[in-house]
């Protein structure tokens, strides 16, 4: 029997993170129920490691990351 995760349908939703606005507070990383967001290794102009979207096919477009983002740096498409 395959695991629940592998049976999940591929989703179309995705988010766009405005890298230059991100201050690396990690709220979105902790909030995402499907762990679609990671912290990037590169540094933006403000000097922070911005969050990076790595959940193509996993993201459901629930908007929770965008709701907790203090800098409104996330746009959600579904």
């Amino acid at each position: 029997m395959s695991s629940v995760t592998s049976e999940r349908k591929q989703t179309e939703a995705y988010i766009i993170i405005l890298e230059e606005r991100c201050k690396s507070c990690r709220f979105c990383v902790e909030t995402c129920p499907r762990e679609c967001i990671v912290i990037d290794t590169k540094i933006n102009a403000q000097g922070y490691h911005p969050a990076k979207f790595e959940g193509m096919g996993k993201c459901t477009g629930c908007c929770l990351c965008a709701e907790v983002c203090p800098d409104t740096a996330i746009e959600v498409f579904k």
Binding site: R21, C25, T31, V68, C69, P70, D71, T72, E75, F77
Partner: protein, 251 residues
């Protein structure tokens, strides 16, 4: 083809904020902007900013903003609302501003039942000036002016403003919300929208106290700060609606 389901509200201008990483002032700003957009009153809204980290409100909101002296935003807002009763007037204040320097103004504005909305961001310290003790500082909390922790024998107890103001007749809506996780943010959005609805319906004074973290002055990381709000602040400052008027019963 995916459609955009979440975007920056129209009332929130497209500028980077000066807030520290993870400061929930940004979230509170967005929720206020969303409430203004929801009622479609951007063109006739006037904000009153106070001294504190929210002082640059005129940069972040696409509405007219007046700067008030420290603590006096409710008094200025009273004047604005009485001169232009057709406008939607809100103040955005911190706890050093509303609960310490502006205590008299907020109490009398609430008691008169002025038809304005107050967004009160409580982060338990004077954030902008370097983390001094505010009346809302938790017992035992170390700040730059209470290096051994707040002691009730010399400094008194933290004030619960939302409960205190809810006892006044003129208040139509008084609630306390938090922004420590996604669920709390969604509840805060409802409360702030309700507070503006009270003003749109001319019900009287409405106040929303928003529990926030000041990571820089608490000297913790953003995630630890959110945890502290949940574990230390909420037990002392319980969330909820303390007063909600359902009809214009004050007339």
């Amino acid at each position: 083809m995916p459609q955009q389901v979440f975007k920056r509200p129209r009332t929130l201008s497209d500028k980077p904020t000066h807030f520290c990483p993870g400061c929930t002032h940004g979230t509170a700003h967005r929720l206020v902007a969303e409430a203004i957009d929801h009622f479609g009153v951007q063109e006739k809204t006037i904000g009153v900013a106070c001294v504190g980290c929210a002082v640059f409100m005129y940069d972040y909101f696409n509405v007219d903003v007046i700067e008030a002296p420290h603590g006096r935003a409710p008094a200025v807002a009273t004047g604005v609302k009485r001169a232009r009763p057709d406008r939607i007037v809100f103040t955005y204040q911190g706890d050093g501003d509303l609960a310490a320097i502006g205590t008299s103004e907020i109490i009398h504005t609430a008691n008169r039942g002025e038809n304005i909305t107050v967004v009160f961001v409580n982060n338990t310290v004077y954030g902008m000036t370097g983390g001094q003790m505010a009346p809302t500082t938790m017992l035992g909390q170390q700040t730059t002016t209470t290096p051994y922790g707040r002691d009730f024998r010399t400094d008194g107890y933290p004030i619960r403003m939302a409960e205190m103001l809810a006892t006044l007749e003129g208040v139509a809506y008084s609630a306390r919300v938090s922004l420590h996780n996604a669920k709390a943010v969604l509840n805060a959005k409802k409360a702030i929208r309700k507070a503006f609805e009270m003003q749109v319906n001319e019900m009287g004074f409405s106040l929303v106290e928003v529990l926030s973290a000041c990571h820089t002055n608490w000297r913790v990381s953003p995630l630890e700060g959110q945890k502290k709000v949940e574990e230390e602040m909420i037990p002392y400052f319980p969330l909820g609606v303390f007063k909600e008027r359902t009809g214009k019963d004050f007339l």
